[in-house]
């Protein structure tokens, strides 16, 4: 396991131990805020420093930046609550609980992972059979599809696990309507019925629901470790870290997590989530849980490679965190992400279309 050494970027060292920030000089604060900005973690940095009672030790110039972030984060939180209410209104006739995923779920459920987390889309999970009704209701209330290209429509509707993103015509906010947490074309398909059956209402807001704690962690792990884009990799890893810290304190959570991962065929992403959370962020995970998920990991040679890739791609996307292999690592994971989502022939066809046909069409337009 990696020790919290000087080799880790400054932001990661501060995420592990906010006290590190107290010793920083002006140049250190400059670097810390730039890395936090690049990783979309500046609002979280404010939360961590405030929780640790360190805010008054921050010099004036970086403190001003943190306060700018506070304003932006407060406005974001208010906008999310408003948008969720609007979605609720649009869907109220359908008799479905509004099952929120990811950022909107953390925010509305008041979870630690939702504090200081800024995001652009609201994600919801609905039964596949309800997709037409949900889409029609959202369109009636002003959301319109963003991908007009026939190929893109087909890509989403036939192969993906979500509708093409819908954007509200007036407010500009986007909603991703999912019917599963992995694409139709992926090799594993965690049963959405199991996720929906275990969903929990949000206390005090009976029409809103989130995934159950273990499922929330597993979905976050799938989202990070099945995807090909790691621009926000560290932010997503921090989500996992904070979810594991909060739910891990509840009795029964750790006992249930490995079994639930097996039931949903998500042992591998959970293995990676726990490995890189502990390695990079020092997340406390009981040894018995690490042992229980170890068999789901890759073989030693592949793990060696994955460590080389993820140790780079999960750092802030900032020049100060890059080495000679960072670009290659991100590219390799991009290819891997697509590989995991589609069988080879379909992937070849998809990449061919994206590389040659879509650009030609846009050039004509």
């Amino acid at each position: 396991m990696m020790s919290p050494s000087k080799a880790l970027p400054l932001l990661v060292r501060v995420l592990r131990d906010p006290g590190v920030a107290v010793a920083l000089d002006a140049a250190g604060w400059d670097l810390l805020l730039r890395q936090a900005d690049a990783a979309n973690l500046d609002a979280l940095l404010l939360v961590l420093l405030e929780d640790a009672g360190l805010l008054d030790a921050v010099p004036a110039a970086p403190r001003a930046h943190l306060e700018w972030t506070r304003t932006a984060a407060a406005s974001h939180a208010q906008a999310v609550r408003h948008e969720v209410r609007q979605i609720q209104r649009a869907l109220q006739g359908l008799g479905l609980p509004l099952l929120l995923l990811k950022g909107a779920a953390y925010a509305m459920a008041g979870l630690d992972a939702g504090r200081g987390r800024l995001f652009s889309d609201i994600d919801i999970l609905v039964p596949k059979s309800s997709l037409p009704d949900v889409e029609a209701a959202l369109m009636m209330h002003g959301w319109i599809t963003t991908h007009h290209d026939a190929y893109d429509q087909r890509y989403y509707r036939e192969w993906m696990h979500e509708l093409p993103p819908l954007q509200h015509a007036r407010r500009g906010n986007s909603i991703d309507v999912h019917h599963a947490i992995l694409p139709e074309t992926a090799p594993v398909r965690p049963a959405p019925e199991l996720l929906r059956a275990a969903a929990r209402p949000i206390a005090g807001q009976p029409d809103l629901a989130t995934l159950a704690p273990a499922d929330m962690v597993l979905h976050s792990a799938v989202h990070l470790f099945f995807d090909g884009e790691f621009d926000k990799g560290l932010r997503d890893l921090v989500d996992l870290h904070r979810l594991l810290r909060e739910w891990g304190a509840q009795p029964g959570f750790w006992d249930a997590l490995p079994a639930r991962a097996r039931a949903l065929e998500l042992g591998r992403p959970l293995f990676y989530a726990l490995r890189y959370c502990t390695r990079l962020l020092g997340t406390p995970v009981p040894p018995a849980v690490l042992a229980a998920v170890a068999p789901a990991g890759p073989n030693a040679a592949l793990l060696w490679l994955m460590d080389r890739l993820f140790d780079r791609a999960l750092l802030p996307l900032h020049p100060s965190c890059a080495d000679a292999f960072s670009g290659l690592a991100r590219f390799a994971l991009y290819v891997r992400g697509n590989w995991l989502r589609m069988p080879p022939m379909l992937l070849a066809r998809h990449l061919f279309h994206k590389a040659f046909l879509s650009p030609a069409k846009h050039a004509d337009a």
Binding site: W29, T71, A72, H318
Partner: protein, 305 residues
């Protein structure tokens, strides 16, 4: 205090192409890097009186302007903007490097500095009275601003009025004034003393030139001002001068519409704007003659419209 003008040309070039020039503009520090020769020359001209902060410390904004490499270096060369390693905008023709620097510096403030309510408006001061000039492009706001700077007015900003939410004071961030098309020659004729940057043609806004901010305005960038008037100007060829009181509720709504971050500040923005409007007189203003406009603004500075 070290200023850009005190740096020898070679030293300025080596800072800009090396670890960066840390330029102070009002409350902000901008770390600027560039290898574009004419951009360096224009910065030397337009920012000569601005303070330079020591390197190796904290900077608010990290801006980088590079010319194309490879074949593009020789054929239709472009300028590439990067904000601390990320590239939020498409490159522009190399000749537009300086206008690009100006609007990306504005973008940094309007998208990040949410410690202020930021109104898209020029703001000037005379006799301690701040006058805010919000207006859509084409209204003659910048022409009026550039003209007033030759008549004893202090520049707080040509583009962004920074309002401190706690007390509604206006915080200066004096920068060069941007002129478009016909205004360039109007100001050359009206203010022969004005220092202008070389006009850049064929930008998305037509031909653009900037007027250097007065040295005194830059020296007094640390002195906030209370707003006395909000004046919505409109240039109309051949029209008589007309200053018409505007109901405060209307003025409030118009100002809110002209804010970059009114939504972001929420209730604090509402309160700050309310305090600002409460203590200010609001007018619409129509003009065609700059000398007449100068005389009228002098009366506004005396507190008598």
């Amino acid at each position: 205090m070290l200023t850009v003008g005190m740096l020898a040309p070679a030293e300025l070039r080596s800072r800009l192409s090396g670890d960066g020039l840390v330029l102070r503009t009002g409350p902000f520090t901008n770390l600027i890097r560039s290898d574009v020769p004419h951009l360096i020359d224009t910065v030397a001209l337009m920012y000569a009186d601005y303070p330079v902060e020591p390197g190796g410390g904290f900077a608010d904004f990290h801006l980088d302007y590079r010319r194309s490499r490879g074949l593009r270096r020789w054929f239709r060369s472009q300028v590439h903007f990067a904000y601390d390693g990320s590239t939020p905008f498409q490159p522009l023709p190399l000749a537009q490097a300086y206008p690009m620097l100006e609007w990306t510096m504005n973008w940094c403030v309007s998208h990040r500095a949410h410690g202020y309510l930021i109104i898209h408006a020029a703001v000037l001061e005379k006799h301690g009275r701040g006058i805010i000039l919000p207006a859509p492009p084409g209204s003659g706001k910048s022409t009026l601003t550039a003209a007033l700077l030759g008549h004893g007015w202090r520049l707080l900003s040509d583009e962004m009025t920074l309002v401190r939410p706690d007390d509604a004071m206006l915080v200066p961030v004096p920068r060069p004034v941007s002129l478009k098309n016909a205004s360039i020659d109007v100001i050359r004729a009206f203010r022969p003393d004005a220092v202008l940057s070389r006009p850049v043609e064929e930008t998305t806004k037509g031909t653009i030139a900037h007027v250097k901010a007065p040295r005194d305005s830059i020296l007094r960038a640390g002195e906030p001002v209370r707003a006395a008037c909000v004046v919505f100007p409109r240039y109309e060829a051949g029209a008589d001068l007309a200053l018409t009181p505007l109901p405060k509720a209307r003025a409030f709504m118009e100002l809110a519409d002209n804010c970059f971050n009114y939504q972001v500040l929420g209730a604090r923005g509402f309160a700050a704007l309310g305090e600002l409007i409460d203590t200010s007189d609001a007018y619409t203003f129509r003009y065609s003659s700059l000398p007449d406009a100068m005389a009228l603004f002098d009366r506004l500075a005396q507190g008598a419209a």
